[in-house]
Symmetry: C2
Subunit: 347 residues, 2 copies
């Protein structure tokens, strides 16, 4: 049986629809992997996601709507039902590709199908207890920097993004842009500081994940002119937003795990000014597709040097490293290695 | 093989030690079931609980300390590890008696051992999605009132309490007592209202589960004299507290599921004034071991009639209905029925 006939179950989270309407980073990647496999000729791909999800693969689901979109749901209830339903069907698949976090691992002792887990982030060091309890499973990291030293990773596979809604624009806009989820981790307040110090307008977009942070640290600075907040953006709105961009300000305050926003910005030809924490130096080429900085002052300086960046290079960097095709070809190699090891075990 | 040689796994929660040091209602009941089975001659009982738990049965555990006692833990991580470890050992048991809530049910498709779930409460209607997905499992309710109409219950088994730390006292104290977890559901603010209207002193005890409620609705009334709050009480402190009791005020604002506090109070000879919601009318005999009321005014009236209650009757009512022996004998019947049905299936 050829590799591309293997039966693959892609396990997506059920916080949002897959692909999400606006925000939903893990669901976005799960969708990109699924559609990417189909596009590359994989014949037996099943996406396990909310029932209203959209895919060219087979769709299987138990949860009607994402629990972030239907607040009557208790997340844990939806999660454990969703996962157990996938596990009940484990025998129908040659591989389960888990994009869900740690809970599916606790069902591993009961299934025979191998599972690959892409670790999209360690939300808290305590979740390592589950990973360390399953060191004999298969893992992929989404950047070299976001690795736990005690886990046996098969590879780093960078997230791939869908370029179809990211128009390359040779001509720069004149605004500073900051988007993603609004949370202290993402340094939205620092972006405001940079904008004020540069005297440039700033547009902020994204869902508010920390309302106190928004109310106390951001809202007092937001007006309808120099500092705007426009709410979450879907892919079409994001494309329009990036058209306005002189540069994207991404001053994350904790180590970035991957940073989809940076790849999206560069795909549109927009250089990124990012904090040199975590994966940022893996996604951005310093002084070539943006600038790595260590504080607000350096970010302000970097804004002054943005014209030195070749916007075509930004686009090319994404095309060569962060496309869905590139990601899926990375996963194909990992799947192949898993099948090789499993066949070895069977002997 | 005799019934009492069957291998029973008692699955306790891991929020607190089993038995808990102070608060921990489900852990208390799980402990009472375990110790009660051992006391009645069951030979192969294993308690799955935190590793520091105490039992005369075999102890099995994976989680060092309860996640409520060690806040570095993410509850969901400890829960899913604890449960999956029990399930991995399912084949070693003839019955798993789940006192944990709904999450263990999602592992049912992967084990052959029958599971009995005592439903200690529906924390939210949404958790019914999991129960309804496993209608072919075995269920016990802790009161006739706390039942979901769509679930097939084998029986109601009332919680049994350990009488060893509940001294019967023929002589009444002169204080109103309110204890349990401090939460609007338990009507602590109503107890304060009753105390003020009666002109009697009130002592409040228990862990604060809703800090806003405590700070805003209770604290302004608390002084060091007429309205006292003394924090959580362990069984010995609780016994001393009940010595002071003229009556226990239990004006729950949502249907009570069982109401350990009411049984404990009556065991000490203390009549209870309870809101007529949920299981209260199953635990209290109105006008004989306390009073069922519908509001603060009726509760105030009831305080005036407390002398008409025979405190010996309160104690006797508990001895006849809510002892550990009584509860365990209830579970023995249920276990027997499960083994009968399982043997039937095997044929």
């Amino acid at each position: 049986m050829g590799l591309k006939s293997k039966r693959i179950a892609i396990l997506a989270p059920v916080a949002w629809r897959t692909p999400p309407r606006a925000y939903g980073a893990w669901e976005t990647v799960a969708s990109n992997i699924t559609e990417g496999l189909v596009a590359r000729g994989w014949k037996n791909v099943t996406l396990f996601a909310t029932k209203e999800s959209i895919t060219k693969a087979k769709l299987a689901g138990w949860i009607e709507k994402g629990y972030e979109e239907d607040k009557t749901q208790i997340p844990k209830v939806s999660e454990c039902l969703h996962i157990s339903k996938v596990m009940e069907r484990a025998d129908e698949f040659d591989l389960i590709h888990n994009n869900f976090d740690y809970l599916p691992l606790t069902y591993l002792p009961f299934i025979k199908t191998p599972m690959l887990t892409t670790i999209h982030g360690f939300s808290d060091p305590d979740i390592l207890r589950v990973y360390h309890d399953h060191k004999d499973s298969y893992y992929v990291s989404i950047s070299d920097s976001d690795r736990d030293k005690d886990l046996p990773y098969l590879a780093t596979v960078y997230n791939g993004i869908d370029l179809s809604n990211l128009t390359f624009r040779a001509k720069a806009g004149d605004k500073l842009i900051h988007y993603g989820r609004i949370h202290p981790d993402k340094g939205t307040d620092l972006a405001i500081e940079v904008a004020k110090k540069c005297g440039r307008d700033l547009i902020i977009a994204g869902i508010i994940q920390d309302q106190d942070y928004f109310d106390n640290s951001l809202k007092p600075h937001i007006n309808d002119s120099s500092i705007q907040y426009i709410g979450p953006v879907n892919p079409v709105q994001r494309d329009a937003l990036l058209k306005e961009a002189y540069t994207v300000i991404h001053l994350n305050t904790i180590p970035e795990r991957f940073g989809l926003v940076m790849a999206e910005a560069m795909a549109a030809g927009v250089p990124v000014i990012a904090m040199d924490l975590g994966s940022c130096r893996e996604v951005i080429v310093d002084k070539s597709t943006g600038f790595l900085v260590n504080n607000v002052e350096e970010a302000v300086e970097a804004v002054g040097k943005i014209d030195s960046i070749d916007r075509k290079k930004c686009r090319r960097h994404v095309e060569e490293n962060f496309t869905i095709g590139r990601m899926v070809s990375g996963y194909e190699k990992v799947y192949e290695e898993i099948f090789r090891r499993e066949a070895q075990k069977g002997k």
